[in-house]
């Protein structure tokens, strides 16, 4: 296990930079998570209770049901892409700064 005794975790936790990362990240994560779950569970629920909609033909024999199921893949990939973009451009730099600061302090103590 890594030795973590030399760091004041409470101080890092209460820093405004960390609090900003925390609030930005949590809202975003749980928002995506809930959207993903709702969109996914609409598929089996719709298949059970709205069969007539699923049967509407749109493109030759391709019906709404097939397009909805295919859209699940597109939505899952899009959510993953959106999250990765946000993490790469917003969360990672914020976290990197907190780490840089903390490591500087650790170095100063040694």
């Amino acid at each position: 296990m890594v030795d973590t005794s030399g760091i004041d975790w409470k101080a890092i936790d209460s820093r405004p930079e960390f609090q900003a990362l925390h609030s930005k990240k949590m809202g975003f994560l749980w928002g995506l998570m809930i959207f993903s779950l709702v969109y996914y569970f609409l598929l089996p629920i719709g298949a059970a209770y709205f069969q007539d909609w699923y049967k509407i033909k749109v493109w030759g024999p391709v019906n709404v049901g097939i397009l909805f199921a295919l859209s699940q893949f597109v939505v899952a990939w899009s959510l993953a892409f959106i999250y990765a973009r946000r993490a790469n451009t917003v969360f990672d730099p914020m976290a990197a700064e907190i780490v840089r600061d903390a490591e500087k302090k650790m170095g100063a103590r040694k």
Partner: protein, 634 residues
């Protein structure tokens, strides 16, 4: 014995076992068996070579459990896909689509959506604070001893359920495909897997999974190209041809019974693309969806894959790659399944395997030129070899997860309280691997002919109801503590197992016998009537007609009686029930909320200073990756 010699010997033994003259008939005709043998041989040789190279790189405990944390995001993405796309999802989903159309495709969606959960709340935090096992995460802020015991027990439970399902499924699969005996198939899978894990640890396991995923994706793309090219890669064109096929229409008519009478052939075909042919109870579907979406994130062998990459960014990248590969694969299965339904037909698919598992392999044989052609059999051999590699790769990942829980958590962490030299740790890991491997082979052989469908349901049920709530709340809820995770693990595991054991997943002899007994009763009644008719009949022509009817009736009665006899004398399921007590096939809907509730209640009722004190540290580290050990360069 040196690892080199053992790897060589294991390869030879595996090949020799496969090459033993097979008595049983498989999907591959006898004159083409040598083809299968050659393709299997090449794949075994390549994986053994990888193991040999990997063995030289496995020196420390970290090398053995997590490949020294030196796997790249791209590599790990392929390995996750290789670990996750088990035979059940690779052959099973294509099979379900080929038999039930739309519902089979809908089923595949949950397996991909599961990775959104993994991506958003599991992969990066686990990488940032974890080391080798699921218990490492739980032990970070909770009482390490208690956390390791419950975490390890649950890891071993989940892995064993999944492992048994894979071993039995694999044995049946290899037997069906190439006709070698069930026991030999199980032994071949077990010996190869042991050779990979024992000598190559996570390094070899990762590469075997990568190779398998590449083979699987290549085979699928090739097949889909061949199936789709006659329609100029048009989706409506392809589906028009599917629904216009008499075999597809016949299968739909069979599935919907009387309702088919008023439908035109075109309507029957179109019905194949509409929901409701497989799933009759929507609530069961939702419950299964919950177990998939939350269970994947609680699977110890999937979690373990995130410890093999150096940083949270790589963990993120690996899930993105895994989602692209896994999702792409499931989209391809739509074409594989539909293509098999149209080109091979449900009748032939079910003749070889009632569950439809052979749809993909049979489609390969068809597009290559059919059962009598060399190319057709080469394709079939290739798909069969991929299926075989799939089982070995998935089993290797599971064995490593179970062995790490046994050696790292229970032996090193709990029994020896971390006072173990690095050399001894690697030794303990290898001994645990042999124990788990031997256990897998033994259980596999003992479970011959058993209904193992409930085991996969069990694995996902426990992972989603016990592991997932404990890991998630440890990572994200400040008040979570030792009391919560112990209660959560116990309640989640017991409810999940308890509900599956009384669910329709088990075999209920009385329910199976009932329709057959009805046939016997009907036929007995009609026999009495026919015998009376025969005595009353005077015309020779009438007598002949009645005699023919008696003959037919007796045959039907005998067949039903034979089926009753085959079910055996048991009246109840192994739990002593005559009929399922809990109607859902998957307990997720009940057991997941209960698991969360147990963690919350346990945490609120219990006071644990360490869990509170460690919160700031855990939370800062899981979000920032501060102090994450740099990977050892190889």
């Amino acid at each position: 014995m040196s690892s080199r010699r053992f790897a060589f010997a294991a390869g030879v033994v595996a090949l020799a076992l496969i090459a033993t003259p097979a008595l049983a008939q498989g999907a591959v005709a006898a004159q083409w068996k040598w083809l299968t043998f050659v393709v299997f041989g090449i794949i075994i040789a390549v994986t053994m070579f990888v193991t040999y190279v990997a063995a030289k790189r496995v020196k420390t405990t970290a090398d053995f459990y997590v490949a020294g944390g030196g796997v790249s995001g791209l590599q790990n993405g392929w390995a996750i896909a290789g670990d996750y796309l088990s035979a059940a999802s690779f052959l099973g989903i294509a099979g379900l689509i080929s038999l039930y159309g739309y519902d089979g495709f809908m089923y595949s969606v949950g397996w991909l959506v599961a990775y959104i959960t993994v991506l958003l709340v599991i992969a990066e935090p686990c990488r940032n604070i974890g080391k080798y096992t699921l218990s490492d995460i739980l032990a970070y802020r909770n009482n390490p001893r208690a956390a390791r015991i419950v975490g390890a027990l649950s890891t071993i439970t989940v892995s064993t359920f999944y492992l048994t399902a894979q071993m039995v499924g694999g044995g049946v699969l290899v037997k069906t495909l190439i006709g070698i005996d069930y026991e030999i198939s199980v032994m071949v899978v077990g010996i190869l897997m042991l050779a990979y894990v024992l000598f190559g640890g996570m390094v070899a396991t990762t590469w075997v999974q990568i190779i398998k995923a590449i083979l699987l994706v290549t085979a699928s793309i090739l097949l889909v190209m061949l199936v789709w090219v006659p329609y100029g890669f048009s989706l409506p064109g392809f589906l028009t041809s599917v629904i216009g096929d008499a075999k597809v229409q016949g299968q739909v008519a069979l599935l919907i019974g009387d309702a088919a009478k008023n439908m035109t052939p075109t309507e029957l075909g179109q019905r194949f693309l509409e929901p409701g042919l497989l799933f009759k109870a929507p609530i069961d579907q939702i419950s299964l969806g919950m177990a998939l979406v939350f269970g994947t994130a609680g699977m110890p062998h999937i979690l373990m894959r995130f410890f093999t990459v150096p940083t949270a960014q790589d963990a993120r990248k690996s899930v993105i790659w895994a989602m692209a590969i896994i999702g792409g694969f499931y989209v391809l299965t739509l074409f594989l399944g539909m293509g098999a339904a149209m080109n091979v037909g449900a009748v032939k698919i079910k003749a070889i395997d009632a569950g439809g598992n052979m749809a993909g392999p049979l489609l390969a044989q068809y597009v290559g030129g059919g059962p009598d052609s060399m190319l057709g059999n080469l394709f079939l051999a290739f798909v069969a070899a991929v299926a075989f590699a799939t089982i070995v790769a998935v089993v290797a990942g599971l064995v490593l997860a179970a062995a790490s829980a046994m050696a790292h958590d229970l032996y090193v962490g709990v029994i020896r309280e971390d006072h173990v030299s690095p050399g001894e740790q690697v030794k303990a890991a290898r001994i645990a691997t042999v124990i788990v491997g031997a256990m897998a082979i033994t259980i596999g052989i003992l479970s011959k002919g058993q209904n193992v469908a409930h085991l996969v349901a069990l694995a996902f049920a426990v992972a989603s109801s016990a592991n997932f709530p404990c890991v998630l709340l440890t990572l994200f809820w400040k008040r979570c503590n030792t009391g919560g995770i112990v209660l959560g693990m116990v309640v989640g595991t017991l409810t999940a197992i308890g509900l599956v054991m009384v669910s329709p997943n088990l075999t209920y002899p009385l329910l199976l016998k009932a329709p057959q007994e009805k046939i016997v009763a009907t036929e007995t009644a009609s026999l009495t009537k026919l015998t009376a008719d025969l005595a009353a009949a005077t015309e020779a022509a009438d007598q002949d007609k009645i005699k023919a009817a008696i003959d037919k009736s007796e045959k039907a009665k005998a067949a039903a009686e034979a089926r009753i006899k085959a079910i055996g004398p048991d009246r109840t399921s192994i739990m002593g029930l005559e009929k399922p007590w809990f109607e859902l096939r998957n307990p997720g809907l009940i057991s997941i909320p209960l698991g969360f509730l147990a963690v919350i209640l346990g945490s609120l009722l219990y006071r644990d200073k360490r869990s509170e004190d460690m919160w700031d540290e855990l939370y800062v580290r899981q979000n920032t990756g501060l102090l994450l050990a740099k990977p050892v360069a190889h």
